[in-house]
Subunit: 85 residues, 2 copies
């Protein structure tokens, strides 16, 4: 049950949630992911909190570091869609 | 026929090519798309030339203005995949 409708997620929120989910399923800490992507750990943390207007070049670095297609990190997660039913 | 292998496109290049293709199939000029997305026409032009490290917020504005999911603008076009065969 719920409110019957769900606020649309912003692109930042979708990216943040996917990044965290994929990072955790890969068994990586924010520090390890940051090192692989050559980004600062604090930056990765702020991206996962939807605080950053992350650039496409950094989206690409993070996707490569996780070994997933960029589009996968920008797609609304299917469990979110499931919750709307 | 071709070289037998294809350089991997950068995320910027994929986004630029998809943006232009979807914009043209919607029958929109760069100026019209820019107005819809509340961005500067010169900015849209530079994004389509892969010159800009476009932010996720602006990717979202452009996708909304075109009425397509963000992930669609970041996916490698299927005709590009076809060319690799």
């Amino acid at each position: 049950m719920g409110t019957g409708r769900t606020r649309a997620l912003s692109a930042r929120e979708v990216f943040a949630a996917n990044l965290k989910r994929v990072r955790l399923s890969a068994g990586l800490s924010q520090e390890k992911l940051a090192a692989r992507a050559r980004l600062h750990p604090n930056y990765v943390g702020s991206v996962e909190r939807s605080e950053r207007n992350v650039s496409i070049d950094n989206v690409e670095k993070l996707a490569r570091a996780l070994g997933v297609p960029i589009a996968q990190l920008l797609s609304v997660p299917s469990d979110r869609e499931g919750r709307q039913q």
